[in-house]
Amino acid sequence: MAELARVNKTYIDFKKERVNPNLVLSIEESGKTVDAIKKTEKVMKIISTVFTYIFILVLALGVIFPFYWMIITSLKQRTEIIAANQTFFPKIVMWTNFSYVFSVFDFTNYMFNTIIVAIFSTIGTLLTTVFAAFAFARLKFKGRDAVFAVFLMTMMIPGEMMVISNYLTVSAFGWISNQTRIDAYLCMIVPFVVSVFHIYLLRQNFKQIPNELYLAAKVDGKSDWSFLWQVMVPLAAPTLISITILKFMGTWNSYVWPALVTKKEEFRLISNGLRGSAFTNVDTNEVEYGYQMAASFCVTVPLFLLFVFFRKYIMRGVGRAGIKG
């Protein structure tokens, strides 16, 4: 028996081995049998699992509810939206709300502006970030650590500090008065093509690339420039994708600065358009919630699609910040 136990790693079953079949093992103090304790533990575990699921599902419903409400409200008639009896599914599905959004709200124009600004500021950010991260991670020069420390410190400054003077700066550049479409785009792109946080992220990533690769590239006669583009950038691709997506989402959500610097409604970005007055009924001066929700839905969907396809990169990029406090 002992031999068998050692080989097969089986354990002695006391139920079979006990001498007296009526003998029951029990814990002395409580007087409960082992089986009984096991049973209560099992039951308690099932109960706590069920409660955990109920708790989580209730909160998950709370998280989803605004999305659900946005969708059904966007398909409701005005009378149904303000009715005393709220319905949880539209009685008459109003697809016309969406056609109204595209005709009156000028969704395409806001969309176009946002995409232009997003593309150019993302490209700008990627370029500056790659260069700066490369310099900080790979090159040695006097004052590197000091400059990097200054960069890190600027992360603590609230962006609101900058808004006042940056407004004066862009108007000094002549981008505010007699604003053309290009001027408006420049206002919204140029101040945001640098992100210290992204430089920091990418530098950490570049630092992980082993020194030997650099030396090997040097032996092969590669310049710093081609090493950067042929080795480092491909290796850091996941981080760069995260940066791209986060930057795009940032532009999609930016509200304050575009509202401040654009002088014409048609130059603004999607968030400004959403909050604009296009949904107020001129006659009654009341907000048309159906149209507003339809527009909100159109603004939310692209972000959702982005999230569905790039979930990994988004969550990694966001999570990276907090891994080691």
Binding site: Q86, T128, I164, S165, V196, M315
Partner: protein, 377 residues
């Protein structure tokens, strides 16, 4: 023979660097010509006394110091000007759009009668702070009281309500999420959804939900006015709910990644000691998560101080009456800054911004100090 030993000893010292550098750092090693000459000269040396050719073999009892690689440098990466070229665009942009504005804003805040059209001012003063804090009269007209009456109290309320609530909620949710088996990934994704939304769009949705004829009043069978024309303190409730809702995903993500890094042994030990669930949470999970919790506290404190978009998207203006509000009773500090920039009161905006800056700095340092005693690593 003694003479030869001396030469050899000398050679070991000098030859060593070249041996070690040969493998990896070939490129950068600058050939020491004098040394090389000695080396070749001696290696061919024929010792006539013993009639043997001397081979150079390193003695085993050599000192480590003798073999330290010195004087080898990464020559190619030592180009100062090249590094500055790479950094150039970033430094210029940061100087123009980050550092200059910072200094300039601080300057405007302390300048007397600063005119941003001409850039003139009449000396340094604390008057701007006096105006926004309702100590000094603003011009010939009246007093400026929106800052201390609305902006600061609102910001403080939002901060001290939403930060603890959202962190506690996020902690409970992530512990629960971490403990379940089925649908864990799916539920994790669901809880992350609020992060990938347009803040304005969802703010609009919340204002529809909390409309007087909206679904919240329908469910709870009340007739409360939450948003438009609401009482200031009542209107704070939907605003706080929105901010917490919007802030949860980030916190859950950070806490979950922290939780997954905790060693299971701690929990097994707790189980053996028959510690209850609440005790395990307070005695093991929270202390081990303290770096993440601290990080979240700092970032969400700062985030809550800067609350602005939530107010705009829900109320469409500084007060509960939207854009028509005469009283900016929902204004936050940042809202105050932007409003004064738009109205042309640059000095007041700058003073408020400097105040916010100082506030954020103070809180960051306090939390860092406190954390040193509390954080368990």
């Amino acid at each position: 023979m003694k003479a030869l030993d001396k030469v050899l000893n000398k050679l070991h010292l000098k030859k060593a660097p070249q041996q070690t550098s040969g493998g990896t750092k070939l490129m950068e090693a600058e050939p020491d010509t004098a040394n090389m000459f000695d080396y070749t000269h001696v290696e061919d040396r024929y010792d006539s006394e013993s009639n043997t050719i001397i081979r150079l073999v390193s003695p085993n009892n050599r000192k480590k110091k003798d073999y330290a690689v010195k004087g080898i440098e990464d020559v190619a990466s030592k180009n100062n000007w090249k590094a500055w070229l790479y950094l150039g665009p970033v430094i210029i942009l940061i100087a123009i759009f980050l550092l200059y504005p910072l200094i300039n804003t601080i300057f405007i805040a302390f300048a007397k009668d600063y005119s941003y059209a001409t850039g003139t001012f009449k000396g340094i003063t604390l008057e701007n702070f006096g105006i926004i804090f309702h100590i000094v009269q603003a011009g010939a007209g009246g007093w400026e009281e929106n800052f201390i009456k609305y902006a600061i109290p609102n910001t403080l309320i939002l901060t001290f309500v939403t930060v603890p609530v959202s962190i506690a909620l996020a902690l409970i949710i992530s512990v629960a999420l971490n403990s379940i088996k089925w649908f864990q990934k799916f539920l994790q994704t669901v809880f992350f959804l609020p992060y990938v939304t347009n803040a304005v769009a969802i703010g609009l949705v919340f204002s529809v939900i909390f409309d007087q004829h909206g679904v919240i009043n329908f469910i709870f069978n009340s007739n409360t006015v939450w948003i438009y024309g609401a009482n200031r303190w009542v209107a704070m409730i939907p605003l706080c709910i929105y901010i917490v809702w919007h802030g949860l995903p980030f916190k859950i993500l950070i806490l979950l990644s922290g939780l997954q890094g905790i060693d299971k042994q701690y929990y097994q030990a707790a189980q053996i000691d028959a510690a209850g669930k609440a005790k395990t949470l307070m005695r093991i999970t929270v202390p081990l998560l303290s770096p993440q919790i601290l990080y979240l506290m700092i970032t969400s404190f700062i985030g809550a101080f800067k609350e602005y978009t939530s107010v705009v998207s829900m109320f469409n203006g500084p007060g509960t009456l939207g854009q028509n509000s005469v009283i900016p009773d929902m204004e936050t500090v940042v809202y105050y800054v932007y409003q004064n920039v738009e109205k042309g009161f640059t000095s007041r905006a700058a003073a408020a911004a400097v105040f916010l800056f100082v506030l954020i700095m103070i809180f960051t340092f306090i939390q860092m100090k406190v954390s040193k005693t509390r954080v368990h690593y």
